[in-house]
Amino acid sequence: MERIKARLTRTSPSLHLLLLFLIFGAAFVGYVAVIWSAELRGYAASTMVAARDLALVIPIIAVFLWLTRKQRYRGEMMMLTAAVFLFSFGLVIQFRLFSDPEYAARGAARARAREAKAQTVRLLNVETGYDDEKKTFMFGAPDRVPQLPEAGQLPGYKYSLADILSSANTYIPIVALLAMAACFRLFKDDRVLLWFQRHAMILGFATLVPFAIIVLSSDDGKFFKQTTPWEAVKILFLLSFAGVLADAYRHLRLTRWGLPPVRHLLPFIVIAVMPVLPFFALSDFGQMLVFLGVYVMLYVVAVRSKAQVAYAVALVSVLFVVFFGATKVTTGFGVPGRVYFRFYQWAHTWEAPPPETWWWKRDLDRYLQAKNLTLDVTSPNEIKQRNNEAWADKVLQQSQALFGVDEGGAVGEGLGLGFPETVPISDSDFIYAAIAEETGLAGGLAILLGLSVFVFAGTAVSISASDMFTKLLAAGITAFVGFQAIVNIGGVLRFLPMTGITLPFVSHGGWSLITSFSMLGVLLALSHRNAVARKALEAPPQPAFVPVR
């Protein structure tokens, strides 16, 4: 024991407590900004909701204290602080979006909400921007300009205390924090980890069966009141994969001609393909992409065979070439048209595909039907124009998001002062566009810094872990959050094709938030385990008997 002088260093928990207060102090300023600009734009943002959001600092601090005091947490806090920052930033943006009556409204109600906002702005402008001549011309006399409505009379959502308390937005973050605490408690226990590692294969199959049933009975990727309960399944799949890989990696490293033995590779492929199938059935290609990315990454890290990496790169390139070759073929080898659409949208956002393209024709027809338009097939001009219109409608979300990013500039339009309501559903998949528009590159940089810290600290947990299973589990969780964030933000910014997955901790969501916080709990538990293990190694031998004086 004497010769191991390794020491585990960590940041001080008091620094994190300070940062948590700083984060919520900043959020408070953000909420004031949103409420203020809402009044200028002609709607009332609910202070009750703002207070509720800010009050979430209480359970967060409570969990923090529970960790440090009750659980004698010894690990690194950075992941928690970074996650809380991302979460609170996301809450501010969601508050801004959902306060706007126009954002959630559809159809005629949307137009009415927009007009109501415009009238307030116009009155404000008459009051502050028109001279007496124009006021007299419009209203008869300068002092007969109508009064601006009081803040209480502005349109907006009114909530009672009961509404707030029973709202999903109140209990989901609390459930997420509880899930995090539960995961921490569970995974800091060696026996639990050992059990999971031993039963990894069975766990994978046991997860797949109910998941498959839910997926098959679901309606268009949504289940029971528009929820996606299988989000949480991700952790179980990750556990089983890490368990199997931790067992098999020694064998997979023994290669002939750079290839692993088939006997050990086969079960491994089975466990790797398992999560892909249901997500394929759900056409949730974003999750598929993230899972495959994480699995490949874990395999590379565990087996670390350069030859196999070369083989994998070659295989992926071949698949890619085949995929792009298949775009020329009308059938597409069973690859869904949606994938083609996403790739095409990524490569040429503002160029409509030819109207006869197989994966686009149906959407075009649907558009024409919805608009009640008939296409004169004899007029090439009309076909081209309708095709362009339909395409512009189809890529509206992506192109509006990019226009918003451009408008946002370096420091943004100001919270509540941009137009993220022109990006449909910008609270989940496209929340980064709203962030970029209203807080600019600076806000985006803050989010990316938060993510960097999370990944940095997460990999540190993995590096300091002493056994392969926890190493892979920590790396897997970190990579999962990191990949998901990059795939999401990259999709908004046209760095990658848009895939429709959420930004972890930031996006509005039920199960995805709970899952993200649970993963965080596991990561904290592993960090704690590492620290405790190191401490045991470092500790000087205790005297067997301490005499009482």
């Binding site: 002088k5 260093t9 940041t11 700083l22 984060i23 900043a26 203020w36 200028l40 690194e76 950075m78 602080t81 970074a82 927009r114 415009a118 009238q119 702005v121 402008n125 008459v126 502050t128 921007g129 028109y130 001549e133 124009k134 011309f137 419009m138 109508p146 503002w350 160029e351 004899t378 124009q385 192109s399 990019l402 226009f403 990013v405 451009d406 500039g409 370096a410 420091v411 100001g414 919270l415 509540g416 002062l417 137009f419 590159l441 940089l445 803050a446 990316l448 960097s452 990944v455 990999t459 540190a460 590096i463 002493s466 190493k471 990191g482 990059i486 933000i489 910014l493 046209r494 760095f495």
Partner: protein, 591 residues
Amino acid sequence: MWVPVVLTLIFVLAGLLSMSLLAWAAWRHRNPVAKSEDEPEPKRFDPAETNRWLRGLRVSFMLLISAVLGFHSYWVFRADSTNDSQFSKAKRLDARYLRLSESGLKGWVLDRSAKLENALIRYRSDAGVITREYPLGAAAVHVTGYSDFTFGSGGMEAAFRAWLTEPASAYNQLASPIPVGKDLRVSIDARLQREVFGLLQSTGKPSGAVLLMLPNNEVLAMASTPSFEPTAINDESTWRRLSEQAEDFMTQPLSPLVNRALGTLVTGGAAFYYRPGSTFKTFVAAAALDLGITGETFTCRGEGFTPEGSNRSIRDFGGEVHGSIGLHEAFRLSCNQYFAQLGLKIGKQRLANYARRLRFATSPEDKIAREFDLWNVAHGEQDQFDYVFASPVPRMNLSGKASRFDVALQSFGQGYDDMTVMSMALLASAAASSDGSFVAPTFEVGAERKVIGPFISPQAAAQLRGLMRSVVESGTASGAFASLAGRVAAAGKTGTADRDVYKYDGKGDPIVDYVGEDGRKRYKFENSTDSWFLGFAPADNPQIAFAVIVENGGQGAKAAAPIAAKLVVKAASLGYLKGEGVTATRLSERR
């Protein structure tokens, strides 16, 4: 408005600060396990062996995040930096533009009197509900345009959008998220505009007119019928019907969205031409006068004039025979055979020279669709303006492929001549200007005169004015202008143009003749005799220039000339004909 902006800055900076602090701390602790010196090398299959790869993973994540940040910076700083990038073009469809322009108060558009009660576009209040109003309605909709949350804007609303949404007052800009836009005074005279529109409407036929004020070619009035109310856009089904007609407007020229004075659509884009007929003789006469070909006499025969290498002959309207005549008589009586021969005498090359001075396309190979950068625009952005108001480029065919017969036809405004009402008004204005130069039209009041270039010499211009004056005094238009005798001396040229147009059924759809082998529809045609008049007034000291067309109105003297006469009377009553003369204004050459 500045308060939430500052608060947002604090919010973002505090967030950045906390995350930078955390990142710094993370960097300090990048190696969680401090290695001791005597630690043994990891054994084979020791989990610690992977740490190097995990660090590699960490580095690749950081690279990916930097790439994402790079993409973000690209969209912020680079994407919109050039005007013709795909992104900038697509951005014209950004829904935010409509939010910004329609949610607040845009600038008012005032006519040249700058009085609020004469405003072309203004706001009104109905019990506190403020809406944008177009007091002239259908009479000026092709000029003022319209604006709407869903369908965007057209006319001046689109052309001057940049100006009308530019913040007008600093205080208001600090107070309001969508500041008040700047007002704009344009050269249109609301009273004259109403009058012109009323005159055109009284014909009951599709028609258009442009009235320019010399010497700067400020547009005093520009009207087109049939027209529509700007409020039509508020009703989705009405607007859809209108724009569907307009989309296919080469076959459906009945659409009220067509601005007949410019040959454009009020929504922006597209090209629409007229045959200029005898008014085009002004152009050929101008060329002849400038070249000094004034003494020629040609014979006008009953059997017509047959150019060399052609078997078709050119005759005059109604088979009239003028005998052997000179330029002055031929212009006064509008003799087709004379001008056919004069055009051939001048020759293709020299005609093309003069055509290019007026920025006409002279060959089918000239593929410029619209006259961008012609208009003199001082407020707002030229490309936004041109998108709405740039007319199609007037065309002739004086290329090597054009036969002598083609040239002869074009010399009196038939054949390949494709003109717009605006281009003919500009021709009249060039004739009326004392220096014979081609001046850009403008909606700006008191803007500097933008001379595109010389058209003919001042002497030739003076001679041409003499020719045009004789048309009104004793020529083809003398009947229409008889009532003005003694009061105002005007000058001009009549025109009667034959054009093939689509034949329509009762519902306004073109009648299909047959469907061709390629699946395209072929439509039935009929002949339309368009009535033209271009001119200026007063004849000896021109102050205004104008061009009028009445589709299928018959001879120029019957439909268009009487409208022009009434228009001159109205302009005189409003005091537009009392100028000090064209030379009094400081002339400045641009370009």
